[in-house]
């Protein structure tokens, strides 16, 4: 098969094709439109150095690769463009394969582009075998029908979600956070992501927490977002971006793990009230799996020891330590 492709390439010739003979047809377009200024400048100075890929159609030609070059040519009012013409004997999937290959020379594909390619292949009736042999390795997609369907399903998400996936180049794994959501929920989280300017990992953390709280409490995700005033926090002018993210995560944690949160808050408060000497560290297992506190003392001189002794024998410290141990015993 590979040899055939080489032959197909050899058989192609570059032709100068009048623009009016090329259909404005986006069927094979899989990459998102880009700003054209740089390309326009280049074409104005040097012309189109990289020919378009065209296939014959009833009324002229269809573009397989070179949509941006075509747009620039139109905007610059060029009469014709250079193009490789695939013979109509070459199967469409083969022409398309070469278009994808050409694209990959310039840059990698994001998940939305991969989804578009999968959809195009299905629409042109590409066989599973051909897809397996040529496209899947090229797109780095495993030979698994479920995964392929999952990728194609990305195109059913609202534009805002697709834009987000493209903008932050989300992996399939990360894109899955949108899978179980209604379109309202998807839009809601994209709004949060946009307001906070957060990437996939942080958004996924917020999404997971919201969804788990909603399942735990038997309420909708929208209700969780409203209860915790997440949008209000996102829009708050008095906090910077990081403060907003921290406040949101804290609120979610409190709601998702109410007891753990409460106990850790109490422990933190008690520790704060103890004004630790600089050479003493006091910690505990925040997951509460291990009982007790851990005291670490660094002795550099005997005066450190005396300071520690004085500190630990104070009534308030003993009282606070005792309270901490009781909380960490976890037996109410």
């Amino acid at each position: 098969m590979v040899i055939k492709i080489k032959k197909d390439c050899k058989a192609m010739k570059i032709n100068e094709i009048p623009l009016k003979k090329i259909e404005r047809d986006l069927f094979f377009r899989f990459s998102s439109p880009l700003p054209l200024e740089a390309l326009k400048r280049s074409v104005r100075e040097s012309g189109i150095t990289n020919p378009l890929f065209l296939v014959p159609s009833n009324s002229g030609y269809r573009i397989v690769a070179g949509f941006n070059r075509f747009r620039v040519a139109e905007e610059l009012k060029m009469k014709s463009v250079p193009a490789w013409i695939f013979s109509d004997r070459v199967p469409l999937e083969r022409s398309f394969y070469m278009a994808v290959l050409e694209h990959l020379v310039c840059r990698n594909l994001n998940m939305v582009e991969k989804a578009r390619i999968v959809r195009i292949l299905k629409r042109i009736g590409c066989s599973e075998e051909y897809m397996k042999e040529f496209f899947l390795p090229l797109l780095d997609i495993p030979e698994n029908r479920v995964v392929i369907e999952e990728i194609e399903n990305i195109l059913s998400y609202p534009d805002s979600v697709q834009n987000y996936i493209e903008r932050y180049n989300l992996s399939l794994k990360m894109s899955r956070m949108f899978k179980e959501m209604s379109s309202e929920e998807q839009e809601l989280f994209i709004e949060i992501a946009d307001l906070l300017q957060i990437r996939g990992v942080e958004l996924s953390e917020i999404v997971t927490m919201c969804s788990e709280v909603s399942k735990r409490e038997g309420i909708s995700v929208q209700r969780v977002v409203a209860d915790l005033s997440l949008l209000k926090i996102c829009r708050c002018d008095e906090m910077n971006r990081q403060e907003k993210i921290d406040t949101i995560k804290r609120g979610l944690k409190e709601r998702r793990f109410p007891n753990l949160f409460k106990w850790n808050e109490q422990l933190n408060k008690l520790r704060k009230g103890m004004t630790l000497p600089h050479n003493v560290e006091l910690s505990w297992d925040s997951q509460m799996e291990r009982p007790g506190v851990e005291l670490k003392l660094r002795l550099v001189s005997m005066s450190n020891y005396n300071d520690f002794k004085e500190w630990i024998s104070s009534g308030r410290i003993k009282e606070n330590l005792n309270k901490m141990i009781e909380i960490l015993a976890g037996v109410e």
């Binding site: 038997g218 007891n259 799996e289 037996v331």
Partner: protein
């Protein structure tokens, strides 16, 4: 439960085996196909688990059918149980079942080389002569769910009745005790995993009702069989206190504590990867959304104070019915034992010894050697 099996495949190399013939004789109208083992494994490796649970593959294995229970990592204490894995996977479908993630094959396996299993049990007994062994078939399957097909409970009971210093436990969520009560043998424990009926309805699909399980236990008791009960997994649900109280009251209204060899307590725990499987297979279940942490062994479990509260309550309820019944915690650290019972075993070996001592004291009919600490080190 048997009617969940839709098809039986038989490895061509075990067609003539005694167990195969027995199963096929009892399989009624179930379609049976003889296959080459490697073809079958390849063909069915990516079958969906729900479909796999309806397929039984009869074959043999060169692997060891008797193994120490993998338990979990320190500091969590385990009881040094010994598992018999001649049947793998389960046609019942509990939301929390670890096998969904643990096993790499989605279908039910039945190994026909029972004699190898017996040899392996003998080897274990010979290698550690002073130790009392608790064997069980319920680690990677339900011990009795296919028993009407396999009659394996009879083979195993008869084999163990000739042995000293060991017993076999059949752990189940069914009421399939016919073969055991018809011909009760010594050294046999039949045990049930118990949960309130509302939890059975929501989380333990295709299992017997609580009522049927307890009724089956009563029948076994009548026939002089030893009984065990496992409150595992205990689930944190609204009204858990009253729900578990009802189960315990119901249990002791039918069963004499003197016939119970042990009761285990264990709260829900699972490897993190299981969460996704549960979410996918049982989207309605809420059990994974409680306050859980990743324990010191890497498994997800309820936060300790929650576990302690549940253990304490259930332990007190059991103690209300019996002072000397052997109650143990499954996969808990020493400090949880202390909070619940006021003491803890120093090691897995010591816990194993405690089992033996309790059995020696409470079940003289086992005719076992008096447990000596040295044999458990």
């Amino acid at each position: 439960m048997l009617n969940r099996i839709r098809k039986i495949y038989v490895d061509s190399s075990v067609v003539e085996d005694k167990l195969t013939i027995r199963v096929l004789e009892r399989a009624g109208d179930l379609p049976v196909r003889v296959v080459d083992k490697s073809d079958f494994t390849r063909y069915l490796s990516d079958v969906d688990i729900s479909k796999g649970k309806q397929i039984l593959f009869i074959t043999s294995t060169e692997g060891d059918l008797v193994r120490p229970c993998p338990g979990t990592l320190s500091p969590y204490l385990c009881c040094r149980y010994t598992t018999i894995n001649n049947q793998i996977h389960c046609p019942m479908d509990c939301t929390y079942c670890i096998l969904q993630d643990y096993l790499d094959r989605p279908y039910l396996l039945l190994y026909t080389n029972t004699n190898d299993l017996f040899k392996s049990v003998d080897k274990n007994l010979m290698d550690q002569p002073g130790r009392f062994f608790r064997f069980g078939t319920g680690e990677l399957t339900d011990s009795l769910v296919l028993d009407s097909l396999t009659l394996l409970s009879q083979d195993l009971s008869l084999f163990f009745s000739t042995k000293r210093n060991c017993l076999i436990e059949f752990k189940t969520k069914t009421d399939c005790v016919k073969n055991l009560v018809e011909n009760p043998q010594k050294n046999v424990v039949v045990s049930w995993s118990l949960n309130p009926q509302s939890i059975v309805n929501r989380e333990e699909f295709f299992t017997s009702s609580l009522e049927s399980r307890l009724e089956a236990a009563r029948m076994c008791q009548e026939r002089g069989l030893m009984l065990g009960f496992h409150f595992d997994p205990i689930l944190y649900v609204p009204d858990w206190e009253s729900l578990y109280q009802s189960v315990i009251d119901e249990l002791f209204s039918r069963i004499d504590p003197a016939s119970i060899v042990w009761i285990s307590l264990g709260t829900l725990r699972y490897p993190p990867n299981l969460k996704k499987v549960i979410q996918k297979r049982f989207p309605k279940t809420k059990i994974i959304y409680e306050e859980m942490i990743r324990g010191l062994d890497g498994k997800m479990r309820y936060i300790r104070p929650l576990r302690t509260a549940m253990f304490r309550k259930i332990y007190e309820l059991i103690r209300g019915y019996s002072d000397d019944l052997f109650v143990y915690l499954c996969m808990e650290p020493p400090w949880v034992w202390d909070d619940v019972m006021g003491y803890h075993p120093e090691s897995n070996e010591e816990l194993d010894l405690w089992f033996a001592r309790s059995l020696y004291k409470r079940f003289p009919r086992l005719n076992m050697d008096e447990p000596a600490g040295d044999a458990y080190k």
